[in-house]
């Protein structure tokens, strides 16, 4: 049996190497697919072999960045990590990550001649697709489950938001008692998932730091989950998140144990806040600062820091690690090309895109923008979500607008019906043309803001690699 397992792992590993050689991509998912096919119990077994405990995190937005932040905290605390950092967040990606961690461990041991076993505890940190979460939690038996947010996203694949929520309710009800369930209290769809679970911990924003935001058109969970009436908000942060309450039945946001207060946004430079931990008898507070900007990243940092604290990482280690963390690829990434600064902001749903529009507008008064819309599986086959994005405020601030991607004409219609004249933007079906046009419209020394969907970002990345200014994503992840 052990020989069969070894064989499965070897075959799977070779498939990954072959896939990378043929430039089919990072190869991470191919390894896992082959492995899971040859040995269906691989994930459970590898998890038991390589990680003392696992953390699983899910949510519509911020998974990759939050995982990255949490990994930084745990690594700074001396723990060794197995993680699916390439954004491969289905069963195949997780199995592949576990296999890679096992092999890395074995290599190291061979080199040092030491027995297996390390100084620090080994931890698996896995971001998981919303729809795959129940299955993966059942197989991995994580010690901590972190649920971040639920926004409308890829309706073609997940179905309605409601059905994902129902599955998560089911999951929360079936968790063993000792599993820590870490929930975003600011999302009314998630705040009460842990009501029947003894080991539930909440995080959320302490205030709106004077932002005075209102619910956007794309806000999703706007009704009380208990009585169905419209919710009111003391403040709104991202999408439908915030300090919500139901004036009809009295249900309201429970007070989170971990709260971010005095959030300070410093644009592309980053953000900081004070993290209050009100657990037990003596509340503590410590400063968190990350070099990645935008309010959604305040949530990501808060979630990661809360998870790290719940896993016993000391506050000063958390602070230190987060201050050094860098953005996941395509998220707040900066690349220099032909004397211009390219800033990439990924989005594949209305809430994410709205945040990017806000972010761009907070940075500069006159803007050069390139938007890329694809409709592959990872982007969502149905591009109708762009009509829920509030692009209108951008119109008065644009010095140039270029539209590209497989569904560039849908974007053209979006801007036409927003009131932009035909000749006020350009449209290109081929990505290199769109990039060239956007670059030539941006003056030297200027910034070009690029807002791609997921696979459009991969294509853009390949194009930038061809032009010698970026690395393939599996080298950076």
């Amino acid at each position: 049996m052990i020989a069969v397992v070894r064989l499965a792992e070897t075959v799977a590993g070779s498939a990954g190497a072959l896939s990378r050689r043929l430039r089919l991509g990072g190869g991470t998912s191919i390894v896992g697919m082959v492995l899971n096919r040859l040995d269906p119990g691989a994930m459970e077994r590898l998890a038991a072999e390589t990680a003392r405990r696992c953390v699983v995190l899910s949510g519509t937005n911020g998974k990759t960045t939050t995982a990255r932040m949490l990994i930084a905290c745990l690594a700074a605390d001396g723990r060794s990590i197995a993680a699916n950092t390439a954004g491969a967040n289905l069963a195949s990606g997780i199995s592949a990550a576990l296999l890679a961690a096992k092999r890395a461990g074995r290599r190291k041991d061979r080199n040092t001649g030491q027995e297996t076993g390390r100084t620090g505890e080994s931890v698996g940190v896995f971001e998981v697709d919303e729809a795959a979460l129940n299955d993966i939690v059942r197989r991995l038996r994580p010690g901590l489950v972190l649920l971040m947010n639920l926004f409308r996203d890829q309706l073609d694949r997940y179905g309605e938001l409601e059905s994902v929520t129902e599955r998560w309710v089911e999951l929360a009800g079936s968790l063993p008692e000792d599993v820590t369930l870490l929930l975003n209290a600011d999302d009314p769809a998630l705040a009460f998932l842990g009501n029947g679970h003894p080991n539930t911990v909440l995080f959320g924003m302490a205030d709106d730091h004077g932002n005075n935001r209102e619910l956007s058109h794309a806000a999703d969970t706007i009704r009380c989950r208990r009585c169905g009436e419209a919710l009111s908000h003391d403040f709104v942060t991202v999408g439908h998140l915030g300090a919500w309450r139901c004036d009809s039945c009295g249900l309201h946001r429970p007070t989170p144990r971990f709260q971010a207060s005095r959030v300070e946004l410093r644009g592309f430079e980053g953000l900081s806040f004070s993290l209050l931990d009100s657990s037990g008898g003596r509340p503590e507070a410590f400063d968190v600062s990350v070099p990645i900007g935008g309010l959604p990243n305040a949530y990501n940092a808060l979630a990661a820091a809360s998870a790290a604290r719940a896993l016993g990482v000391p506050p000063e280690t958390v602070s230190g690690a987060l201050s050094q963390v860098d953005a996941a690829f395509g998220r707040s990434e900066q690349i220099f090309l032909q004397g211009r600064t390219l800033r990439l902001l990924l989005a594949k749903n209305p809430t994410g895109a709205n945040e990017n529009v806000r972010f761009v507008m907070s940075e500069e008064s006159r803007l050069h923008v390139l938007i890329l819309l694809n409709d592959r599986t990872a982007d969502g086959r149905d591009p109708s979500w762009i009509w829920d994005v509030d692009y209108e405020p951008l119109l008065d601030r644009l010095d140039s607008l270029t539209l590209g991607g497989r569904r560039c004409w849908e974007l053209a219609l979006r801007f036409r019906y927003a009131g932009a004249p035909h000749d006020s933007f350009s449209v290109h079906e081929r990505l290199p043309d769109a990039l060239d046009d956007a670059l030539s419209a941006t003056p030297e020394g200027g910034t070009l803001w690029i807002l791609p969907t997921y696979t459009a970002m991969l294509e853009l990345r390949s194009e930038l690699v061809r032009r010698g200014v970026a690395r393939e994503f599996w080298e950076t992840a």
Binding site: G159, E160, H217, I222, R223, S384, W409, L413
Partner: protein, 260 residues
């Protein structure tokens, strides 16, 4: 602009029923009228409020999640369903998309067998299935103004069947349509049209948008309206992309997405 009184659109349940970017359809109606010198006044009709039937030329109802659709169905049975039916008899136009299309029919039966009553303005009954019908769609429609191809995206668990009081909006060229079996898509009864196609529906289908607007204008001002053509070259480019997607789908085997 402003010389003529505005065309009056009553947007039913805009907060509850908007999941497939329905505001894109409203934007298209608004702009295509404005470019021809007409105003559009949109009034929103939330739960609990009566409809002022004498002040509406066109109804719009979009798609929502099951939970919201259930709440809307309950509210409809108060006064609104009867008001909308009587407005239809008076020649008011209506466009009903996705969940809104199901609600415009007689009844929607959930997977658990629960029957939800609708407006009853279209001769359609819908029954939910465990599988969803998802993907790009192309249909051919013969309206009084001529033949047209309509492109969109469908994503519905409901299987709709037409009674003798409605004719299909179109014949399925590619995709599933009303039920994935009889090659019909959508429904027409008088000046009311319903369809599963979103994307949103109207930006890529300017001919259909103008057909709806013509009905609304006729109700507002009486007589017949010929709308002057617009520069629709973006629309045509988007239709070419959509046609390439449905052509590819016609060649590939059809699939269904199982949700649980």
């Amino acid at each position: 602009m402003g010389l003529r009184p505005a065309v009056r659109l009553c947007h039913l349940y805009p907060r509850e029923m908007n999941i497939y970017a329905d505001r894109g359809n409203i934007a298209v109606l608004h702009r295509r009228l404005a470019w021809r010198g007409f105003d559009l006044r949109v009034s929103e009709s939330p739960p609990g409020e009566r409809i002022r039937t004498g002040e509406t030329d066109l109804f719009y109802l979009g798609g929502g999640q099951d939970r919201d659709q259930l709440g809307v169905a309950v509210d409809l049975q108060g006064h609104k369903a009867a008001s909308v039916r009587s407005a239809a008899a008076d020649g008011v136009a209506g466009l009903f998309v996705c969940g809104g299309y199901q609600l415009a029919g007689h009844e929607y039966r959930t997977v658990d067998g629960q029957a939800i009553g609708g407006i009853g303005a279209l001769d359609v009954t819908t029954e939910a299935d465990a599988t969803r019908l998802v993907g790009n769609v192309e249909i051919e429609s013969r309206l009084d103004t001529g033949r047209m191809r309509i492109f969109g995206y469908e994503n519905h668990a409901g299987r709709s069947r037409l009674g003798p009081g409605s004719s299909p909006l179109g014949r399925v060229i590619s995709g599933h349509g009303n039920n994935g079996e009889d090659r019909t898509e959508g429904a027409l009864s008088g000046r009311f049209a319903g369809t599963y196609l979103h994307g949103p529906l109207l930006p890529k289908n300017p001919q259909l948008a103008d057909w709806v607007l013509r009905l609304a204008l006729e109700h507002r001002y009486g007589g017949k309206y010929e709308l002057e053509p617009l520069d629709d070259h973006f629309e045509e480019a988007a239709r070419r992309t959509a046609a390439a997607l449905t052509a590819r789908r016609r060649l590939a085997p059809r699939f269904r997405v199982r949700t649980r």
